[in-house]
Assembly symmetry: C2
Homo-oligomer: 478 residues x 2
């Protein structure tokens, strides 16, 4: 079948927000029992971020160059990460409720910023209505077919007794939906279309591989695309995602196959595998430039271009240690990786706070509150991110161009992006010494080095000198 | 302070509906695991009645003369009676959701039928969001102040361990709100106004005495009346309700002080105290006519008229055995009581199905499904109820008149209602022999006997003969 993904995603600069920790508005009444903003994250405590807080920071996001936000779950949930859904049709009251989301959609769209929500459709929570009905009514519940109950009584909270129901990874907090039930299928599909009809621009799907049923996702796609053909559907698949990427299920996936090589190459000398082993990425083995070049060439060719250009390329997320922490705090590794992220094929997704150098180990530490005191920001990384975002949203060669490695040796790699007769050239020197690189077959002309902002003329000379732990991104001028 | 209650209530004929058991529409998708309609009620099973079913039976209710419906709870709840609220802002999906209530309000209002909902504000349920947050997050919950938690861990489902939170009558299914918390107060008040603003005509308040806080109910009234000055506020108070009936809290109460004497007098010979003792009414001692007359005179004078005319006079409810069953199945006792109910001061409230002679012992048996097979109906009681409802909604003397006993002896009682120079006369003969009764000071003129529909001329003769176990209701003709 012919594959079509939303064009806006190809041009997108995503920003991932963990709603409890990004920004907090005075306009949302707060619960009385919260952690202080910026306290060490706790698995069970709230800090009180909300969606109107995000609205009030849209100027910041816009100035960063962001034109799409992916939100970790926003629906009513008795957990600070909100992956334990209590109510799929209501935004959490602590986030400001449905009205806050409406305001956010209005204000974001007015700035050309798209909004993608996190859809947790494999499992619900112990407080979710139909599961609660089974807890309350036992074998007499009207909703027995909604979950996988094996015996009574269920033991939702007492781990010394058998749970007697299927749950995600045997975590009894997360009862698994019975997606063979027609009522459950209709319910989940209706949730998906309800929010898209309300203005949401797409779904990031949590652990969609756990719903081992292509027909479920095909119908999911059909309904979502019927509601908005431009809605983005991106699955959380950590490995090869061919099964879901034939055009009839997802548009793309969260590209963790992009993440690991970035850690391995840019962080080769400083990797903190203590944190990686405790994180979603797992232990990472260092990589040199030729291996990195080979790997990223393969990753760029795994799927048809229509999908590759719509991939969500991330350096980290709420499920991993932050990139900077995973590479032992090395700022240069983080900046090099950021350059790569914005100049590779697929849409970059900045995990909130990475751009100001926020640190954070494995979950829950990677979910620290955004620090709004600019005196503590890493302004160099912030400014670099801004330049890269601007370049990406103004240079089609970076979003639609082919990816081709030009050379790779020791710890230096160079590649080109080519589109419609224009080319861009990127050199990344991860070495601790300056490197002179000869690049063949360059197009003469005027370029801008996105990293410095300076003008570069390409004429007879094909050799470029790149400072240690630094990069060069030459995009053609108008 | 001056006391004001809604005028429409004084003219109302109420009908109480238990939503799971009145009527079922094809238009509401049903859960797969329901009891058959009409099966013996079970504490934990659903039969699948819904609000669109009620819409489809509005013609029936209108033909009965009903102009107000009091619904047992309709909000999302994991219990067939829905007193265990899971979500105060959503109508239960099995009832058709918020859209079904909207349709019901529209259709009912178009027929001049008001709709009063049941507000369960003292306690929530184990699945209610903020309580669930405490279950999930323990001492770290953001909502600790919403309930009365005494220690951790809470034990919501395992009765062998201390519950560690306050609950209604120590029923751990019903955690009691901490109504001292500002957040809880605001929440409950906002629920009340949310639904009134959506078109609901009032609130029946479940166990409001358990919220031992006049300031809570004063503000509740202020907000509800600000949203709609005509909204009705009727409390479930089984005893003297003076505390709440000074004009600043409730408009009226469910008049169980009316119910018990009716059982005692009309059912004197056939009372089934086995069922009463297991029911909300408790054991009932037989009463003769003089005692009944004394008692009902006292009840009519307990509160200012403005309140008395707005009282909700009921023969039974979801909390008691059905009247007919409580009087040992005696149809004549039930019919006499119905005549009394429609001709006494205050608004009559028919418990769904009583008018067709539906039987039912104590909860849950009093919650049987309405039987839509007319062949099994008690048409005599139905027709009597229709005549009484019509009389009540067309004769101001029955709704606004004073209540004055004229005579009472053995098992016969006669009383008059007087308003604006007109009088109505009622004679109830609960004896098993015909009774001749002399009534003094009658106004000569043309009357209709509501019970037979026949014309009666009052002139020189003041003696009326009334058949055994029968009644006469003379209302003045135009």
């Amino acid at each position: 079948m012919s594959i079509k993904t939303p064009d806006w995603v190809k041009d997108a600069v995503f920003y991932q927000i963990f709603p409890d920790r990004f920004a907090k508005s005075e306009r949302v009444p707060k619960a009385t029992h919260l952690q202080a903003w910026g306290d060490a994250p706790h698995p069970h405590k709230y800090q009180g971020g909300d969606l109107l807080g995000v609205v009030e920071k849209l100027d910041y996001l816009q100035s960063l160059g962001v034109n799409a936000i992916y939100f970790c779950p926003v629906f009513q949930s008795a957990s600070n990460h909100r992956y334990h859904t209590h109510d799929y049709l209501n935004v959490d009251p602590m986030l400001g409720g449905n009205e806050a989301l409406d305001e956010l959609l209005r204000e974001a769209h007015a700035r050309g910023i798209r909004v993608v929500l996190d859809g947790v459709f494999n499992h619900a929570s112990r407080g979710f209505f139909q599961f609660n009905d089974i807890l309350e009514n036992g074998p007499h519940s009207a909703y027995l077919d909604w979950f996988h109950v094996t015996a009574f009584p269920l033991s939702p909270y007492d781990g010394t007794k058998p749970a007697n129901y299927k749950a995600w990874w045997d975590n009894r907090a997360l009862p698994k939906f019975n997606t063979d039930s027609p009522a459950v299928r209709e319910f989940l599909w209706s949730v998906a279309t309800f929010w898209v009809e309300r203005g949401v621009d797409g779904w990031r799907l949590d652990v969609p591989n756990e719903i081992d049923d292509d027909s479920f996702w095909r119908e999911f796609r059909a309904r979502v695309k019927a509601a908005n053909p431009d809605a983005y559907i991106v699955g959380e698949i950590w490995h090869d995602a061919q099964r879901w990427l034939s055009g009839d299920q997802f548009d793309a996936v969260m590209n963790y196959l992009f993440t690991r090589p970035c850690l391995a190459f840019f962080g080769a000398h400083t990797l903190d595998n203590r944190v990686n082993e405790a994180s979603g990425t797992g232990k990472v083995l260092p990589m040199d430039a030729p291996s990195f070049a080979e790997r990223m060439t393969r990753v760029a060719a795994m799927y048809p271009d229509e999908i590759t250009f719509a991939q969500l390329n991330l350096l980290g997320s709420h499920d991993t240690a932050r990139f900077r922490t995973a590479v032992g705090g090395d700022e240069s590794a983080h900046r090099l990786a950021t350059i790569f992220q914005f100049t590779y094929v697929g849409a970059p997704c900045v995990y909130y706070g990475d751009e100001i150098g926020l640190a954070g180990g494995p979950d829950p530490d990677c979910r620290r509150a955004f620090d709004w005191d600019e005196a503590r920001w890493d302004h160099e990384t912030l400014e670099l991110t801004r330049r890269l975002a601007r370049a990406r949203t103004t240079s089609p060669v970076l979003t639609r161009g082919t990816f081709e490695v030009m050379t790779a040796f020791a710890e230096t790699v160079a590649y080109k992006r080519a589109f419609a007769g224009r080319e861009a050239y990127v050199v990344l020197n991860a070495d601790r010494t300056p490197q002179a690189v000869y690049l063949a077959s360059l197009q003469p002309g005027s370029y801008t080095d996105v990293v410095t902002g300076g003008a570069v003329r390409i004429g007879e000379h094909h050799t470029f000198s790149v400072e240690p732990r630094s990069g060069m991104v030459l995009v053609p001028r108008e």
